[in-house]
């Protein structure tokens, strides 16, 4: 057959009789199917690197609990002072432009 695999023995020599191996001088016109995304909402940031977390789950849990305990609690008076700032008047929400 002249393919790179050579003349290997086969169970039935008539198998693959219609097969023509790809010839480098005559490239195949078929291109493999490719898929393109229709939107770019979920594109990862260009500098994203995915690595394995070095700390195992037990140690991560220890750190997480420690952070929760060490986070200083805000005094009740601080909460009261902030509340008026958090609330938005209703009118401004209906008049804001939709994106």
């Amino acid at each position: 057959m002249g393919s790179i695999l050579g003349d290997l023995p086969s169970f039935d020599p008539h198998n693959f009789s219609h097969f023509r191996p790809s010839d480098p001088s005559n490239p195949s016109k078929m291109t493999p199917t490719t898929y393109h995304p229709t939107h770019s909402r979920t594109v990862p940031p260009p500098d994203q690197v995915i690595t394995t977390e070095a700390k195992n789950i037990l140690i991560r849990n220890f750190y997480r609990r420690a952070e929760e305990k060490m986070r200083p609690k805000r005094a009740a008076s601080e909460f009261l002072a902030q509340e008026p700032g958090c609330k938005q008047p209703r009118a401004s929400m209906t008049t804001s432009d939709t994106p």
Binding site: I57, R65, K69, P72, A75
Partner: protein, 534 residues
């Protein structure tokens, strides 16, 4: 996974069916249900050594001479013999029933000299390089004179020597000696090996020595945590000594010479105004945790008085008992009071014990729990396997059954939980922390999902147990739950004297169907049985 329990049918099925992803080891282990050490040679004649254990890769059997001065290493091999007759399916010939059909002696090395003895409960193995760590020590002195930094009440040993050997040929590669110190050596308790890092707890001087075992065979000091946390703390303190009060200066300079100070020998830390580095880290962590619990300043001060200052001296008096690695940077340290330091864990629930997670790189305490803390118990229940950190190199050790990876072990844990009150149960479970390393056998016969056996008589943990005359049964977990093999210790007919106390220990080969059971009584020679697949 297999439809049949017949080994030939299983092999055929294995050809056509791939196991579920990630379970190739578990599927291979199913064949251990078919290949079991069912044949026993009773009371085999063997050299009078105390056999310690098989290395975790199965290449060596470690034993010590009776006088605890020599190390003898054997290589396990399978007996082979030839028969002149055609049909040879009957019993083994007499010449095959010998110890040296199963084990070849490789070499014998004398480790202990003078008045030192090998600690025969201690052995650590570094599988990647075939290195073994052994310890020799002189006898402990219980009424040790207390010197400057030593904790009173802890015995002292003149010389403790750690030997690093290459097990292929018995060459002693390196040694590390500790003088006038005390390290808990029974069953590897005071030492933890993770990868190539060795943590040695010096109870007397309250220091955790971290050593690295290099491929060249050198034991290199990495750091010593206790009095100082960072490598340059001592340099910093010494260079600023000119600004310290005179009494503290003399304390700093005399500390290395272990000169006895005059007065106040009772309270260790009253002598110096500086607490040790690790203690300072601990106290500041507790302070910040109590501080951040409250939001109001007045409540904070009240809370500090109640929870911190009231117990201040108790926290200062805590000593390090035991240490283990959680990964290359984190240590789990158990703290307790001086008198509870050397007690067996059974009595530990009367004493308060604390656990701290310490990061060696940032020298920060990450977490601190009492031994009755529910939160720590929850981590222990869910992530028990992470308390046995496994190095990348050991394959067999990653599949030891625990209640986090095995449903039957978890059912057993739930059974224990129902019997006691929750606080007692938590204290009992956390009493096993920190774990000792290399204390469990990786043999698949101890896999709880393959076999059911009486844990009080035999288990993966290599400790001596009460011996019984009747054999220990191993029954398969899968249907039909049949008895696959029995391990019987002692002579075949049972011992004549039923009243003497007998203890037995078991050495299972990590992957071959081969096990040794050793039964010992107080006065007579131990009797050793070999269990193997005929």
């Amino acid at each position: 996974m297999f439809r049949s329990s017949n080994v030939a049918a299983r092999i055929f099925e294995r050809q056509i069916r791939t196991p579920a992803p990630g379970t190739s080891v578990h599927c291979a282990r199913l064949f251990y249900e078919n290949l079991v050490p069912s044949h026993t040679i009773y009371d085999i004649e063997c050299p009078d050594h105390s056999f310690r254990k098989f290395t975790e890769d199965g290449h060596y059997l470690i034993s010590f001479s009776r006088n605890n001065q020599d190390l003898i290493v054997y290589r396990p091999r399978w007996p082979s013999f030839c028969c002149k007759e055609e049909n040879c399916m009957h019993d083994l010939p007499q010449k095959a029933k010998r110890f040296d059909s199963f084990f070849t002696e490789l070499y014998s090395v004398s480790l202990a000299s003078n008045n030192e003895l090998i600690c025969k409960d201690f052995f650590l193995y570094l599988g990647s390089n075939h290195f073994g760590v052994f310890v020799t020590s002189t006898a402990p002195l219980h009424d040790a004179p207390s010197s400057g930094e030593a904790v009173p009440g802890i015995p002292s040993i003149d010389n403790i020597t750690f030997h690093l050997l290459r097990l292929e040929d018995g060459d002693v590669l390196d040694k590390k000696v500790f003088h006038n110190d005390f390290i808990n050596l029974s069953h590897n308790m005071g030492v933890f090996l993770y990868d190539d890092l060795l943590a040695i707890v010096s109870l007397r001087f309250q220091t955790i020595h971290i050593l690295q075992i290099r491929d060249s065979g050198n034991l290199v000091d990495v750091r010593a945590i206790g009095k100082f946390c960072r490598e340059d703390d001592e340099l910093f303190l010494n260079s600023n000594a000119q600004y310290m009060p005179v009494s503290d200066q003399s304390q700093l300079h005399h500390s290395e010479n272990h000169v006895e100070t005059h007065a106040h020998q009772n309270q260790l830390y009253q002598n110096s105004s500086f607490l040790s580095g690790i203690k300072q880290r601990l106290l500041s962590f507790i302070f910040r945790a109590v501080w951040n619990q409250e939001s109001d300043d007045i409540l904070r001060v009240q809370s500090l008085k109640k929870k911190f200052y009231f117990h201040f001296q108790d926290y200062v008096d805590l000593i390090i008992w035991k240490v283990q690695f959680l990964d290359r940077h984190h240590l789990l340290i158990k703290f307790g009071s001086v008198d509870g330091g050397l007690l067996v864990s059974r009595n530990a629930d009367q004493h308060h014990a604390f656990f701290a997670v310490y990061n060696m790189e940032t020298t920060e305490i990450v977490a601190f729990y009492q031994n009755s803390a529910e939160e720590l118990y929850l981590f222990f229940e869910m992530f028990c396997d992470h308390f046995h950190p496994q190095s990348r190199n050991s394959l067999h050790m990653n599949f030891i059954s625990s209640h986090s990876n095995n449903i039957y072990a978890f059912e057993q844990l739930r059974g224990i939980k129902k019997k006691a009150t929750f606080t007692q149960f938590v204290k009992k479970m956390l009493g096993s922390l920190p774990f000792s390393c290399q204390s469990q056998s990786p043999s698949p016969y101890f896999d709880q999902s393959l076999f059911r056996y009486d844990e009080k008589l035999i288990s993966a943990i290599d400790r001596h147990r009460q011996s019984t005359d009747h054999p220990i049964k191993f029954i398969t977990r899968r249907q039909p739950c049949t008895l696959k093999f029995k391990i019987k210790t002692g002579p075949e007919a049972g011992s004549a004297d039923g009243r003497t106390k007998k203890i037995s220990s078991f050495l299972f080969h990590p992957f071959l169907p081969l096990a040794l059971s050793i039964q010992q009584t107080l006065f007579s020679q131990p009797s050793i049985n070999i269990h193997f697949r005929k």
